[in-house]
């Protein structure tokens, strides 16, 4: 075994994050670690990277006991980690980013940065990873997937033995995921080990050799990937069977148009026309950069479109501000809940209040007790795990934050809800409750325009699917005629022959 963790425990004030967790990593192995949000995956990785100090337990590398008490020490032991959060400088070049704050220096001339060495070493790294980008390009101008590659190149600046990837695919699309997998397989063939954390079980089936499941900070078990299926893993993660969590997908038959878009063009998309029917879930899928979020922004008046027409309930409507969109019954749930969706420094109940000021007020005066009781009801209805309604949203897990974002829009009770990647970064349990919520509101007559890069989600809960490629619609499919292959072809701009 290249790495062995024995009986690791770690507690934070009020929470036992890890309790006696052990696991081993073989050389040349891709080892997935899964579990719901709060299962302790990230904590364990932070300990391995020397960022958190564990309370109890031991680590062995190549059967030698080691202390992982600083980031530098972990790095010296050959452990490289890529965090879920980006840590790049968008205003600097690829080469500068790879070396970060520790660029090669010229010792003879006042330790100034040795630019020629930096440049050639950076090229070496890029070559080693088969990345064909120009090292002088600014990182801010790269796609998210390319940034991810640079993030990896940066992490492995040493001769690493173990690479930890924390949810590497949460913000990249299918095609980009393939590129990432190629890289991971290359590392594996070189005899390096990979610890892979993801919520996407299908990916794990595709790439992992073994899977370790954690639940509530406890070790559940390690399984050979070949011997288990997705449902088994889900039941291990949840600690219960999923059968009763599955919902009956009845296709919406109502053809009443609540939103029609005719030849809409704007920044990032052009010539978009489609109808949204009453009570349906219409999904916009495609690769990142296909213009889906930009289209949503224009429908919500955040960045108004440049030309074309929007009809709400068959009436031509100009939507040039978000307040106008809401007046016309359109809501928008952002994919970027921390920066665009939530007021993280404010209380949960205030977040519920943010877009419902009119609903909570009479004669312009806010009824705070009404707000509080609504917040309390939503908390119970959506099973938001929060101690009190005056708790700050900042301290919630990703899945719970997402539930807060969704519940504030559900309560707004609008006729059309645009949901942008509604399950991004949330665990399986929360995912199912979000699907249930969406199905529930559509059955009550709300129309949902969903943006999703998750192919299973798209196929499972949509009534119809629109595939976008390069700012244009490349196909509209009914749920029963859609499959993964068709969508992938359309999303990559390959015409059906």
């Amino acid at each position: 075994m290249i790495l062995e963790a024995k009986n690791i425990s770690k507690s934070f004030p009020g929470v036992q994050a890890l309790n006696n967790v052990s696991f081993g990593l073989e050389p040349g192995e891709i080892h997935a670690i899964i579990g719901e949000n709060g299962a302790g995956k990230s904590t364990l990785m932070h300990i391995l990277a020397g960022i958190y100090k564990h309370d109890k337990g031991e680590f062995f590398i190549d059967n030698k006991r080691i202390e992982l008490d600083s980031f530098q020490k972990a790095k010296q032991q050959g452990i490289a980690i890529v965090f879920q959060e980006r840590s790049l400088f968008p205003n600097l070049s690829i080469a500068e980013n790879i070396f970060g704050s520790n660029p090669p220096r010229n010792k003879n001339i006042f330790f100034q940065v040795d630019w020629s060495q930096l440049s050639s070493l950076a090229q070496d790294y890029l070559d080693k990873l088969n990345i064909t980008l120009n090292k002088n390009e600014l990182v801010g101008e790269l796609s998210v997937a390319c940034q991810q590659m640079i993030e990896i190149a940066k992490a492995i600046s040493n001769d690493f033995k173990i690479l930890i990837l924390d949810e590497p695919t949460s913000s990249i699309t299918l095609q980009e995921t393939e590129i990432l997998f190629e890289l991971i397989k290359q590392f594996k063939s070189e005899g390096r080990s990979i610890i892979y954390i993801s919520h996407r079980l299908k990916e794990i089936k595709q790439i992992a050799d073994r899977v370790t499941v954690l639940k509530d900070g406890e070790y559940v078990g390690t399984f050979d990937q070949e011997n288990v299926d997705v449902d088994f893993l889900v039941s291990k993660m949840l600690g219960k069977d999923l059968e009763n969590e599955k919902f009956n997908n009845q296709v919406n038959q109502n053809k009443e148009k609540v939103l029609s878009i005719k030849k809409l063009s704007g920044e990032g998309f052009s010539d978009i026309s489609f109808d949204l029917h009453k009570g349906e879930i219409l999904t916009l899928t495609g690769l990142s950069g296909a213009g889906r979020t930009e289209l949503a922004y224009s429908l919500f008046g955040f960045i108004p479109s440049k030309s074309g027409e929007i009809f709400v309930n068959n009436k031509k409507t100009i939507i040039d501000s978000t307040s106008k969109a809401i007046k016309n019954g359109i809501g928008y749930l952002s994919e970027n809940r921390k920066e665009l969706g939530l007021f993280t420094g404010m209380e949960y109940r205030e977040n519920i209040e943010s877009n419902n000021l009119d609903k909570f007020s009479k004669n312009f005066i806010i009824n705070k007790s009404k707000r509080d009781s609504v917040a309390e009801d939503l908390k119970i209805k959506f099973d938001i795990k929060i101690p009190n309604i005056d708790h700050l949203v900042l301290n919630l897990s990703g899945g719970n934050q997402q539930k807060v974002s969704i519940s504030k829009w559900i309560y707004a009770n609008l006729k059309i809800l645009i949901v942008d990647e509604p399950t991004i970064g949330v665990d399986v349990g929360a995912k199912f409750s979000i699907y249930k919520i969406l199905k529930e509101i559509t059955s009550e007559g709300v129309s949902v325009l969903m943006i999703s890069s998750d192919i299973n989600e798209t196929l499972n809960i949509s009534d119809r699917i629109i595939v976008m490629f390069d700012g244009k619609i490349s196909g509209i499919l009914n749920a029963d005629e859609a499959n993964e292959e068709k969508i992938l072809k359309m999303a990559s701009g390959i015409d059906n022959e």
Binding site: F302, G341, E350, S354, F360, I365
Partner: protein, 314 residues
């Protein structure tokens, strides 16, 4: 005990009341009735009314995530406009006062226009208008406009139920804006804009609208401070507003405003202003030179932000 400390730290209003109480207690022990008398208390509050009224406007801006360095200059222009309209143009004083306030609101709108429509940031905009407005005050008012009529002076110098009129104006404004920012939907939007501007837009809040109303409010209240000052003095002094922005921002920050927005209450800001007034009052009583006031003011501002940083970490 631990719980008590927690409440003290987490609730700024209670913290400030405790701070004022403890400070007054210590000052009373050392200074006796020179400090601890009803007359002195009245004088402290009266002397700080203009600052406290301006702090209400600054607090509103800080809650929404911006600030205004030009308040001292608008204060000066408010005073000068009023004097100019009365003396030079012969207007009846209520009309002159209202017109001066309208002008000051307009100056706030100029700040908002430059920030929202021209995209210049708040620091640069209000630093520039601080200079522009101050210059205009001196150009219009010269060395000062003296000999304002008795009726106008009465506005700031009458007593009602034994309490000077400026204190009444201040209390009315405090009550009004505390209520507005606590309970009225429109003013609640200030907290959301300050808490996360983009999320506010995506919640259907018109951020530019909030910016305009915030700067107009700040301009109006600063102008009112200036008018009140002119009324009490019987003269419009263009240089009277110099350096007030430091006092007003310090009061708001001591009162719980955060420079990134989303936090603070109107009452907190006013209590912050009153705490500063007590500190400077002790200076006056003990005979320390008034030149020390900006020095201590600056130190208090830095300490207030520093404590905020420490508490946040805990």
């Amino acid at each position: 005990m631990n719980n008590f400390l927690k409440i003290l730290i987490s609730n700024r209003t209670i913290f400030l009341i405790a701070l004022i109480f403890v400070f007054s207690l210590i000052a009373s022990i050392f200074l006796g009735t020179k400090f601890a008398s009803l007359g002195n208390l009245k004088a402290v509050i009266l002397g700080q009314t203009s600052i406290a009224i301006m702090t209400i406007g600054m607090m509103a801006l800080l809650i929404s995530g911006v600030f205004d360095l030009s308040v001292g200059s608008i204060f000066a222009l408010g005073s000068v406009f009023c004097g100019y309209f009365i003396k030079q143009m012969g207007m009846p004083y209520p009309m002159a006062m209202i017109l001066a306030l309208v002008c000051c609101g307009f100056l706030g709108a100029i700040n908002a226009f430059v920030i929202t429509k021209m995209g210049v940031n708040a620091l640069i905009t209000t630093l520039a208008t601080m200079g522009i407005f101050k210059g205009l005050a001196i150009i219009i008012g010269g060395a000062g406009i003296m000999g304002l009529p008795r009726e106008f002076i009465a506005f700031g110098r009458t007593d009602f139920l034994g309490i000077p009129s400026p204190i009444w104006y201040f209390l009315i404004l405090l009550g009004l804006f505390s209520y507005l920012f606590n309970n009225v939907a429109y003013f609640r939007k200030y907290y959301f804009v300050g808490g996360n501007e983009k999320a506010a837009v995506l919640s259907g809040i018109n951020v530019n609208n909030i910016r305009f109303s915030g700067y107009i409010l700040s301009g109006l209240l600063a102008g009112f401070g200036g008018v009140l000052h002119a009324s009490r003095l019987g003269a419009s002094i263009p240089l009277a507003g110099s350096g007030l922005e430091l006092q007003v921002i310090a009061a708001a920050v001591v009162g719980g405003a955060s420079l990134v927005g989303g936090k603070g209450t109107i009452l907190g800001g006013v209590l912050g202003a009153m705490f500063l007034a007590l500190v400077f009052n002790v200076f006056v009583i003990t005979g320390v030179s008034a030149y020390w006031i900006p020095v201590v003011n600056g130190i208090i501002l830095i300490l207030a932000v520093y404590f905020h940083v420490i508490f946040k970490k805990e």
